[in-house]
Symmetry: C2
Subunit: 336 residues, 2 copies
DNA sequence: ATGAAAGCGCTAACAA
DNA sequence: TTGTTAGCGCTTTCAT
């Protein structure tokens, strides 16, 4: 910056003022400074600025992985918002518990970001408590965190609506398939199972734990085994509600291999509405991670810029059932 | 840090040394400092450090989007590597040309990162030139950049192998479908088409521009139209090589709707080997973005830490054809 | 409208 | 092994 100042024949203060777009700079000087800066290929060091302003100009995101439809959509949607506010996005990827422990051990975001976006969906209370002490706004995405700003969908209600759809089609034996082993998803998963159960209870259908199975979506063998368990029941299900599209699609694939027609002999319902859902003609409960990302971005922005923004604002996003071809009336039933 | 020093009864330098794990600190003092730091919930400000060390401790990534299999896999794989080296990852998402222009206009990474990973696959020469002046290592991922460190696959050779597979199956009318409108993919796209053409030429099959069509994978209508064009030809193709799995899968979906059996009446070949490929039983040319991410990470690490690392190292990653059920001998042909 | 000077939190000589 | 001191590149009073 000193170089720029010298070249433009002004002081560093003036350069600083100009580059930050402050008003009290004469047009003449402004032009000179900008020219000099350009000529020297100068860019302000955020690090030096942040040292004195106390603001870092970065938003941190704690994510379990980047390798998923949800995270990709959410963060992609977030990007433009942050850029518009001249904020950078730094991402902490913690694919396993060890990495996450390391994050919480050192809390590198502390003092190195203006806000934190948490995309881990199964924080322990202790972890949340540590985040409370971070001294910066922490926004929880895709989970409802009491007394803290959060953006989420009502997973329980959404799952309930999904199961109702199956009930309306006349299904009474409805299995629920969870995506086992996916660290970081248990919060939503739990809520969805609860919603599913609630719908069943409301319809007077007895709960049956043998109808709840689990398998990682990517593990075809595990999915096949889970399916085997269900089919081996004395009274096998006529429909399966998979808590994620990827799992649902994996299940459909497995069913096809076993020559079990979908939806004729087995209805399959998903959750998410990923692009693959349409390709598999999968009925599913849609949510929009892109909207979540945007809302979270706006929330974070307001929290950073406006000191008396509601520090516990909740944004509840809608879900909706998308009927496609993977669900049909139970055998011997009329359409609803 | 002053607080920690006071609490531990030592000077700030000692605290600094301790927290950076330097050796010349007595065990006793080390323990006191660590205790004090913990008690005060202290974390070093990277910004202040970087001001004096000149190293920022962050690696920047310029990406067209986060919302794709390729980017997700690559960046997810990169994460642990960077974390192990105590580096942060900041992501610049530039979904459109305007955003990208803004990035190049301000080059925010300058002085705010120790290295840059470029995942945009269609940089102009001018853009590359600007990156050369950045004063930090710039690693190109998924593209071969002359004289600059890059990690990539040989798209041309890979596509050539793909087309050869179709030729071996007896196909002679082979269409090539590009994913139109996907900003940031034209480099690979171009190379793949070249490789395809080369294989045809080598086999003595005449090139026919009417067999090259384009459509965005997500736009079903456009895919249907492109397919229509091909089917409307006097001599329609018996196989289609889609330059991406998503497009291939979208095409298969469209073919099914039109009651054109795959592979009986039309073979379809993809490129990538995304998870969806297996679900659609798609024969495809596999590449591994996760490996690319890892290699890029290691390259970047070596460039940052080792001043005399080869500044133009190239890492060429393998691809391989994965035969599945979406390709079959052309009608009237024997298997190869 | 502009400049001089102090200081943000840290690290890196240098001294002790 | 530890402490003292001088900046790193900026922003921000406070003068002018």
């Amino acid at each position: 910056m000193a170089d720029v100042a010298e070249r433009a024949g002004v002081s560093v203060s003036t350069v600083s003022r100009t580059l930050r777009g402050l008003s009290n700079v004469s047009p003449d000087v402004r032009a000179r400074v900008e020219k000099a800066a350009r000529a020297l290929n100068f860019a302000v060091s955020r690090h030096a600025s942040s040292l004195v302003t106390g603001r870092t100009g970065v938003v941190a995101a704690l994510v379990p992985t980047l390798d998923s439809w949800f995270m990709g959509s959410a963060l992609s949607a977030l990007g433009p918002l942050l850029r518009a506010a001249d904020l950078e996005l730094t991402v902490y990827v913690t694919p396993d518990l060890a990495e996450r422990a390391a994050f919480f051990e050192r809390l590198p975001a502390r003092r190195n970001a203006d806000a934190l976006l948490v995309f881990c969906f199964d924080l322990t209370d202790e972890e949340s408590a540590r985040l409370d002490d971070l001294g910066m706004p922490v926004v929880y995405v895709s989970q409802h965190a009491d007394g803290r700003p959060s953006v989420y969908v009502d997973d329980g209600a959404a799952a309930r609506a999904g199961t109702r759809h199956l009930l309306n089609l006349g299904h009474r034996r409805i299995a629920f398939m969870q995506s086992a082993g996916a660290t970081g998803f248990s919060f939503s998963s739990h809520e969805r199972l609860l919603g599913h159960r609630r719908a069943l209870t409301e319809a007077g259908v007895p709960l049956d734990d043998s109808l709840v199975v689990a398998a990682p979506a990517a593990d075809r063998r595990a999915v096949a085994e889970a399916l085997g368990e269900l089919l081996g029941l004395r009274e096998p299900p006529t429909a399966v509600f998979a808590e994620q599209d990827e799992l649902a699609v994996s299940l459909i694939w497995t069913l096809r291999r076993s020559r079990i027609e979908v939806p004729e002999r087995m209805s399959v319902l998903g959750f998410d509405d990923q692009p693959v859902a349409e390709l598999f003609d999968l009925t599913t409960v849609a949510q929009s991670p892109a909207d979540m990302g945007r809302e979270a971005g706006e929330l974070v922005l307001s929290l950073i810029t406006d000191p008396d923004a509601d520090p516990a604002r909740h944004v509840l996003l809608p879900t909706r059932l998308i009927p496609r071809g993977s669900t049909a009336p139970a055998i011997g039933e009329e359409t609803d």
